[in-house]
Amino acid sequence: MQAQSKINFSQPAPNILCASISGAWQIGSKVPGPSTVLSLLEDNPGIKSLVIDGAQLDGWDSIFLTFIRTITDECGKRNITLEMQGLPEGVMSLLHLASVVPEQRDASQKKKQKTFLYMVGKSAVNFATSTVQMLHFIGDATLSLLKFFLGKARFRRIDLLLFIEDCGADSLPIVTLISVLVGLILAFVGAVQLKLFGAQVYVANLVAIAMAREMGALMTGIIMAGRIGAAYAAQLGTMQVNEEIDALSTMGISPMDFLVLPRLLALVLMMPLLTMYSDLLGMIGGAIVGVGMMDITLVQYLTQTQETLDLTNIMLGISKSGIYAIIIALSGCMRGMQSGRSAAAVGEATTSAVVTAIVGIIVTDGIFAVLCDALGI
């Protein structure tokens, strides 16, 4: 067993302090801190020379090195001559290695706390820059779309088909599950209130209108923001990290045409179809509650739905879904294209894409609600 680590002090002359170090100075063992030495130096300002004697040191690791480094720094500050005797060769060479390259003054400045005003200013500048970048991206995407309509946009048709499959067919299971559940929930919420008036048959009206006007497009939008918007941001962000986007640019192939356009088109084509599918599934969910739990016959439910649902409501939901698709695709692609070149940056881009898309969807839905009210739709 190794001896307990300790320091024995002696003063061979009034201005010399000798610290004999013994025992094992290793992580996990109880070692005296530098304050033991420093407090003695503090109490005896006459000491001008410190001798550290490590002849009886049994073992050492980084904990001993940090002890010596602290003592060295403090002696330097107090103009005390430090002499080290009997320290193992490994300790001496590591201490030398740590002192070869002087501390980078600029590096520590980076960590200094910024003032409140600086941070407010920086946030404002960042906000302005990101708004300009967003407008720039929307402008580029619009130009790219125009090029597509003029037949000048260059991208691989197979990519478009793959994105259509991903946005469309592959999204069906999750859209099915969420839409049926939303239909069920709407029917349950409505049924409790309508039953009070004996008007439970109007559950069909409530579900049909709510799904067609609002919930079909909204829920599909939120699902697609999480599923497709995030995927777009992660794909393009990773391409940014791997310099794949640089490779396209230097080859004279527009990343906007080649990468963003097929993604945008696929989502704009698929979202209205998914929304119609979601509307239908939501109504089926409502029918399950209506017919199964509220003594409404299936014929009654279908008749009520048919009577209340008109093309205006359906088209309103579908138009919304087209706009949501543009918001999701653009936010996903924009965050991906603007991503930094690290794994963390790709993660941030993905989160940011989903947040931007969902905020965009909700704000747009609010604008639609106000406009519809004003126009009496």
């Binding site: 260059r154 490779a247 396209l248 230097t250 004279g252």
Partner: protein, 272 residues
Amino acid sequence: MHWVYETEMNRQSEKTINTPHIIVSDLTMAYGDFVIQRDLNFSINHNDIFIIMGGSGCGKSTLLRHLIGLKSPAKGQVFYGDINFWDISPDERSRIMRKCGILYQKGALWSSMTLAENIGLPLEEYSGLAPRDIEEIVSLKLALVGLAGYEEFYPSEISGGMQKRAGLARAMALDPDILFFDEPSAGLDPVSARRLDDLILELRDSLGATIVIVTHELASIFAIGNNSVFLDAETRTMIAQGDPHRLLSETDDPKVKEFLTRGEAAAEGAKK
């Protein structure tokens, strides 16, 4: 389009060796207010194997980004022949870049495409060749880099070294006038790195191309480089240029000497 491709090929034979292909004039590179390198002046001649060297973080790859149109200079110019590269429209810049092939540090192959599609894309875009001809060129380029038969592999299905070679095959797709390499030996074992060096030499001789390489691999620098520029991270400017062999024997600058001798010059100085 086919015709343009042919004339570019012909133009290569008209080039004059030892005349400037790329001229960098008073170039200052910066990220925002932070200057990476300033007052860079050098020229890269036709058929040179030009090395951009310097310690880590000195701005070698950033300089490459300025040469290939990915980052605009804070100040100064880059000339391709007598064309001021950053003064022309993006479309014209893109036309110049079609005559350049670039091998990125990590290969930068498009991960959603097979190797054949990766190499075939620039040909489809610019050569105007029939699909059958493109297939044959792709097969030839892959064979040149030792990847014959890997046409249908995706980048994720091959090793890092193979990805680099496939990246080189893509860079050579349009028989470029200039080939840029960003750290070609990084991540390669010594034998593969040596083979890549030999391949670069062969490409220079057979394609008649100008080669620009960003690297700090001394073995490659001395094996293939015939002209170079040394960027210094501390003074943030170039401190030497010329043939690396000549720099090694003639330079008085301790930093260049230390770099080219792998620090041995400094160690010997310390011993004395």
